[in-house]
């Protein structure tokens, strides 16, 4: 066997040179860069980050978070195409078997291909570097926000690359493995939202309340609050029962992990913070119903964003663990399925 790192590096190098880095990839990268530029300019114009000189609160973090989310969106859309045929594509081209008869191990082969897909996806982050630096220059970002969000972004792109590479080893036809990788991305990004939405429909609770009405007393000229005799039954959603379904959403993982920067009024003022607050608010149980004495109902002061976030639990590590688990499972499965000499073969599959 050849040294692990050497094998992985040669495979990744071959992969980058041969399969991924074609003309189409550069075109895609260029188009993506342009789109990111347009989005950045629109956000800058929208929040008045450049023109409103009097602003005391810089908006660099709003721009920064938008770009990072944009890279996450586009990256998770591009990564399946770049990784989803890494192994079965080589099989179809007849170059997998000739690689497998060398001294490179199946693990090195799979890891090398995964790293190549990951690197080529990270290029989409690298090309937005000038825009990210611009947002840092505007101010408003914090070192923690920048470090954590970029780290989570890189990990999430790696997770998709790993799942794509893994599925390309597990599924025989490139078309299907790419499609399944897209379905996994859709499941995590949209499926979690849909299941949360359905969950709130299921997790409804019935509750009873009494109404109250003010009766005007002609003799005194005063109105008097009188509780109704009958109770009314109604239902309401309990998102606090099903909020955890959102934990595996990559956008939620990102938002939840990034240390929030609070603007005026202790409320977040960037995309990370907005999303984090939205999801955290879902954890809150609805206020108890004043069944008996609606006439003496007084609402608490509406809590600030910081208070909500501080009083609820983070979930990003759960989501991240699920993602990393899926990625590891896919890669492990690919190593097993690609191992040579092959014992069992899927129907209709070919070796060389």
């Amino acid at each position: 066997m050849i040294p692990f790192v050497t094998g992985v590096r040669v495979i990744a190098g071959l992969e980058l040179r041969q399969r991924i880095r074609g003309v189409a990839w550069w075109v895609l990268l260029g188009v993506f860069g342009l789109l990111a530029l347009v989005v950045t300019l629109i956000v800058l114009w929208g929040v008045g980050g450049l023109t409103d000189g009097y602003r005391s609160d810089p908006v660099g973090n709003a721009v920064f978070s938008t770009i990072v989310y944009f890279v996450l969106l586009l990256g998770t859309l591009v990564a399946p195409a770049l990784s989803g045929n890494a192994i079965n594509g080589d099989r179809e081209a007849g170059t997998l078997a000739t690689t497998q008869v060398t001294l490179v191990s199946t693990t090195q082969l799979v890891i090398g291909k995964f790293l190549a897909s990951w690197i080529s996806t990270l290029a989409f982050l690298v090309i937005t570097a000038p825009l990210l630096i611009l947002s840092l220059a505007i101010g408003g970002t914090t070192p923690g926000m920048v470090a954590v969000s970029l780290l989570v972004l890189a990990i999430e792109l790696g997770v998709i690359a790993a799942i794509g590479t893994g599925l390309s080893g597990l599924v025989r036809r490139p078309l299907f493995s790419v499609a399944i990788t897209y379905l996994v991305v859709a499941m995590l990004s949209l499926g979690t939202l849909i299941s949360f939405g359905l969950g709130t429909l299921v997790a409804q609770e019935k509750y009873e309340y009494r109404g109250a009405s003010y009766i005007y007393d002609d003799s005194t000229g005063n109105s008097e609050c009188v509780v109704d005799d009958t109770t009314t039954t109604s239902t309401r959603a309990r998102p606090d029962y099903v909020w955890w379904m959102l934990a595996a959403n990559p956008y939620v993982v990102m938002a939840d992990a990034v240390p929030t920067r609070y603007g005026s009024g202790d409320d977040p003022n960037d995309l990370f913070g907005f999303l984090k607050l939205t999801v955290r608010q879902l954890q809150k149980a609805p206020e108890p119903i004043e069944q008996q004495d609606p006439c003496n109902y007084t609402s608490d002061r509406y809590p600030s964003g910081r208070e909500v976030i501080d009083s609820t639990v983070p979930s990003w590590f759960v989501g991240l663990a699920i993602h990393l688990g899926l990625a590891a499972l896919a890669l492990f499965g690919a190593v097993r399925a690609t191992r040579a000499p092959a014992h069992r073969l899927a129907a209709g599959s070919r070796i060389a």
């Binding site: 050497t6 071959l14 040179r17 080589d90 078997a97 000739t98 008869v101 060398t102 000499p341 070796i351």
Partner: protein, 369 residues
């Protein structure tokens, strides 16, 4: 030392039992005179003629014992046993779908056999694939090449995957490009290569780590005649350097020219040595030609008749007179007699190639049970 290719085409220097008597003139073009010696042409020069059966002396490069492999209900290889000795070219012969490629894949450590054992230079490809891969070069029947990489890059990177350092790998790639004559094409993307050029690249890739055992799956398919000659030459030299070379093909004439021994595979079963030996003495047509056939025809026919060949079985075709002869010894006897009668024989060779004869004889004798 003359090239293996040239040796393949000159008459043997040391006549073996079955070689024609001296005095037989050089053959005209297109008549493989070496076939007179009975086996492969080069074999005739390098070694005494060998019976076409497994189990030759010498260190075995490949030993296969009762190997079987099924894909679901399809039994691609049922019971294959063979030996490919070091220093020899062994042909793997069988019709399409007979299991040649499946057997090759098992030898190449890509597919595990369901049963039986395989040893490549003493190593088991299932238990110790790394040891096997270090010693084994495999040229697949399907030509996979990294389309956007140049031949040089592909060979260098393959060298790296065999554990060569960068400089070593680059040096080896240059050597191989010279060996397979890809010269000026070496730095163009391999997608511009023709099929024959890709075939040569594929051979070069199989040789990157200087393997002791070589598996060539249909190496000559798609090659033009000049490239075939070059391939044959290369393959002979690789074997003469001490490697075991297993070449599969269904073009038997091509194997006839380069294989020392052969293994016959039909419906997943290899023919055993006894059956192959039986074909050795079975009758087949030999073609005889004289310098001026029109003039000598009657004399030749009479001489053949006197030699004991029934008149009605002496036939003629465009290339000469065809007579049935059973076995090499009988052929040698007949030739000696004809020459003794003063007939100017210019060609005396089997009308059907050795491998083809054996193959057809085995097939017609009823397939394996």
């Amino acid at each position: 030392m003359s090239s293996p290719y040239e040796r393949g085409w000159v008459p043997p220097q040391q006549p073996a039992s079955s070689t024609p008597a001296p005095g037989a003139p050089a053959p005209g073009p297109g008549v493989p005179v070496a076939a007179v010696a009975g086996v492969g042409p080069a074999a005739a020069a390098a070694t005494p003629p060998l019976p076409l059966s497994p189990g030759e002396p010498g260190e075995p490069g490949i030993v296969v014992e009762h190997v079987g492999r099924a894909f679901g209900s399809v039994h691609a290889v049922v019971d294959a046993s063979m030996v490919a000795p070091m220093g020899r070219v062994t042909g793997l012969i069988g019709p399409n779908g007979s299991g040649k490629t499946t057997l090759m894949l098992m030898l190449a450590s890509l597919l595990a056999p369901d049963r039986g054992s395989i040893r490549i230079a003493g190593h088991d490809p299932v238990a110790d694939p790394a040891a096997v891969r270090r010693l084994l070069g495999w040229m697949p029947d399907q030509l996979g090449s990294w389309a956007t990489l140049s031949a040089r890059t592909a060979l260098t990177q393959t060298g790296r995957l065999y554990g060569l350092h960068k400089l070593q790998a680059a040096h080896r790639a240059a050597e191989l490009i010279h060996l397979v004559d890809l010269g000026e094409l070496a730095d163009r993307p391999s997608r511009v290569l023709s099929r024959g050029q890709k075939q040569r690249l594929s051979l070069a890739r199989a040789l990157v780590h200087d393997p002791a055992v070589l598996l060539l799956d249909e190496p000559a398919s798609g090659l033009d005649p000049a490239a075939r000659v070059a391939l044959r030459r290369t393959v002979r030299r690789l074997a003469d350097e001490g490697r075991a070379v297993l070449v599969s093909s269904h073009v038997l004439a091509e194997l006839d020219e380069m294989a020392d021994t052969a293994v016959y595979l039909e419906r997943g079963v290899t023919a055993d040595a006894a059956r192959i030996a039986a074909t050795r003495v079975s009758e087949r047509a030999w073609r005889i030609r004289t310098a001026d056939l029109a003039r000598d025809s009657d004399r030749l026919r009479e001489a053949l008749f006197r030699a004991g060949i029934p008149w009605e079985r002496i036939e003629a075709d465009a290339g000469g007179i065809l007579v049935p002869v059973a076995g090499e010894a009988r052929a040698a006897e007949l030739l000696t007699r004809l020459v003794g009668e003063g007939i100017a024989i210019s060609a005396f060779a089997p009308a059907v190639g050795e491998l083809e004869h054996t193959f057809l004889d085995l097939s017609s004798g009823g397939g394996p049970a």
